[in-house]
């Protein structure tokens, strides 16, 4: 009997994101139809854009890379019951640090320079997360507003530094000086002829980070305590766990991940920091974490889905009259259904009396 309860609640966990995706695609199809376009053609175009050929497939993986990491950055504190909406700002700070370290210190061997740049990125993100973390752990101020404010402040600081201080002269768009070769993450296109997608080692690192997060959560004492605090903070306190300290720790770790997400973009994808390089990777990370149910594997899969949708959206706007932004709407609707998971359950599950 107990076994049945276990697998049915696990099945539920899987059904909700799948149900949300299905419902989201359905609503999206309705919207597309209302625009006078053929939904099936549109979704076909999306698919072709994401996976149509090898280059596009790599492009999808490239687009998914930053949101794998930002998704993990959001999922981790969620496990402790915290909502880190500030991943966007933390990523920007990490990117900034990576850009500064990466474009200076010439003469350092790659073995030192690259890790140093990534470390700087991690630190940048961590420090940016520290302030709201402290305010939450010690003062109990809800992290949602503070992290959102930090996002705006990060935007402002970045804008100032990139435009006024660090700007590479002679460029049309404001961007930082190029990252030196010793701090670059290798791109696969360097070894594959005919490939334009800028998939780089950062993708592999992202997957490794996912494994690391899994390992952290389920194989370490820190992860054990994080999960305990998230599931039942009271019982955790009774068991002797230092709850405020765990809150700060998990927020800082989240900042580290966000910073690393920024590092991939700067050291691998772009090799410079151009203002506006992020179309909201931090926020997509929130969506991806919710859809992936805060589990590293779920986050990777959800990130791949969202990456595919974004990549596909570009192709869609080329081949139809449908703007690429329909993808953003689709994603938002899917997330809405994930948030309102009770609706999904009500629709998808057969009538259950007194469900678990």
């Amino acid at each position: 009997m107990a076994d049945k309860t276990r697998t049915s609640s696990e099945r539920l966990e899987l059904l909700v994101p799948l149900g949300a995706i299905a419902l989201g695609l359905l609503v999206g199809a309705v919207i597309i139809a209302l625009m006078g376009e053929n939904p099936l053609r549109a979704y076909m175009a999306l698919f072709m854009g994401a996976f149509g050929n090898f280059n596009r497939l790599l492009g999808t993986l490239t687009r998914a890379t930053p949101i794998i990491v930002t998704g993990l950055a959001v999922a981790l504190p969620f496990r402790a019951g915290l909502f880190n909406i500030g991943v966007e700002g933390q990523m920007l700070m990490g990117a900034l640090a990576a850009a500064v370290v990466g474009s200076n210190f010439s003469g350092l061997p790659m073995v030192v320079h690259l890790p140093l740049a990534m470390l700087a990125a991690a630190l940048g993100g961590a420090l940016w997360a520290l302030i709201p973390a402290w305010l939450k752990a010690r003062r109990g101020i809800h992290e949602v507003i503070n992290t959102i404010m930090m996002n705006f402040i990060a935007n402002a600081v970045l804008a100032y530094l990139v435009v006024e201080v660090l700007r590479q002269p002679g460029e049309m768009i404001p961007k930082t000086p190029p990252v030196l070769a010793t701090a670059q993450l290798a791109r696969f296109s360097d070894f594959l002829p005919g490939i334009t997608a800028r998939l780089n080692v950062g993708f592999v690192i992202a997957l490794l980070v996912a494994v690391a997060v899994y390992y952290l959560l389920w194989r370490t004492t820190i992860g054990y305590e994080i999960r305990a605090v998230g599931l039942n903070a009271r019982a955790a306190a009774y068991a002797g766990i230092n709850v405020p300290r765990q809150i700060m720790l998990v927020m800082v770790l989240s900042g580290v991940l966000a910073g690393l997400a920024g590092a991939e973009r700067i050291l691998g994808f772009d090799r410079t920091l151009a203002l506006g390089f992020s179309p909201g990777f931090g926020f997509e990370g929130i969506a991806v974490a919710l859809l992936g149910r805060n589990h590293p594997l779920g986050v990777v899969l959800a990130a791949l889905l969202f990456g595919a949708l974004s990549s596909g959206g570009v192709w869609l706007s080329f081949t139809t009259d449908i703007p690429a932004d329909v993808v953003v709407v689709l994603q938002a609707i899917i997330i809405f259904f994930v948030a309102a998971d009770q609706i999904v359950r009500a629709v998808i599950l057969p009538k259950k009396k007194g469900a678990a």
Partner: protein
């Protein structure tokens, strides 16, 4: 620097404070009844957009305002159903609504206008005297909110539901219905605030034009201790910081950093005051009827 502080700064403050105070009043109703209102930002954005779209197609900005009220109410109604009937996590639902609003507005801007960043110009609200009408409406709304909340039976029940829903239920107050009404009302207020941003000040819609004002309005609400007059004072303060920031640009200090001032200010205020501010006691807790 003496030329910075003059009458035009005062007018700019009032203009900047208007959407903040109106949105904050909307948030007031919802939060006073016990429902967290993270989605003010999204509702403002949708309202701003709807106002421009309708003004574009009808040439009548007043109809645009009406559209803003209706779409804000609609978005809020969706949030209300999800949070109240289905007991979803109010913060997560709010964030989802914000994302939906951001995505929808950009997408629909493409669909309706074929543009990516800015909509075409529309007929703006007429300037009456110094300001556009919504600015004059703001203090009226403050007064109305005060009267409703503190001088009517309905206001008494709203406050009761937010403090101790069980106590209200035992004397026969319908907790769910009260909350639904308040959340929808907050959507209308937020929509109105958005309309001011688009057709009350500029005459266009710009993507993400709310720029966090919904959250600043929420901070004003908290700083104002969930009281209409407090929210007004706080909104004026935040409006001042925004007006000052615009004024200081080009005055030698880095533009971009000055733009951060309102947000830094908000954080400082929250850090200093939230510990002592008393939220409605049942804020954020879903109420399950027996």
């Amino acid at each position: 620097m003496g030329s910075v502080f003059d009458i035009t700064l005062l007018m700019a403050t009032i203009r900047s404070a208007t959407p903040l105070v109106i949105a904050a009043l909307g948030g007031l109703f919802a939060e006073r009844s016990g429902v967290v209102n993270i989605a003010l930002e999204g509702k403002m954005l949708i309202g701003a957009f709807a106002a421009v779209v309708v003004a574009f197609y009808t040439g009548n900005p007043w109809l645009g305002v009406l559209a803003a009220l209706l779409t804000g109410a609609l978005m809020a109604a969706i949030l209300a159903v999800v949070s109240i009937k289905y007991s979803a996590n109010q913060v997560v639902s709010g964030v989802a609504i914000n994302m939906l609003a951001a995505g929808l507005t950009v997408f629909l801007m493409h669909v309706f206008f074929g543009t990516a960043g800015t909509s075409p110009s529309v007929e703006r609200l007429p300037t009456l005297g110094l300001f556009t009408p919504i600015v004059y409406l703001a203090p009226v709304l403050v007064a109305l909110t005060f009267v409703v909340l503190y001088r009517t039976p309905w206001g008494l029940r709203i406050r009761a539901v937010g403090e101790h829903p069980k106590a209200a239920a035992t004397v026969g107050v319908n907790v769910a219905a009260t909350r639904y009404v308040c959340v929808v009302l907050s959507g209308m207020f937020a929509g109105l605030a958005g309309a001011h941003l688009s057709i009350g000040t500029l005459s266009v819609f710009v993507r993400d034009m709310t720029a966090g004002r919904g959250f600043i309005a929420l901070a004003a609400l908290i700083f104002g201790k969930w009281h209409p007059l407090g929210a007004l004072a706080a909104a004026l303060l935040f409006g001042f910081s925004e007006a000052l920031q615009i004024r200081l640009q080009g005055g030698g200090l880095p533009t971009q950093l000055i733009q951060a001032v309102p947000y830094i200010f908000t954080m400082v205020v929250l850090a200093g005051f939230v510990g002592r501010a008393t939220a409605p006691a049942a804020l954020g807790e879903p109420f399950k009827e027996e």
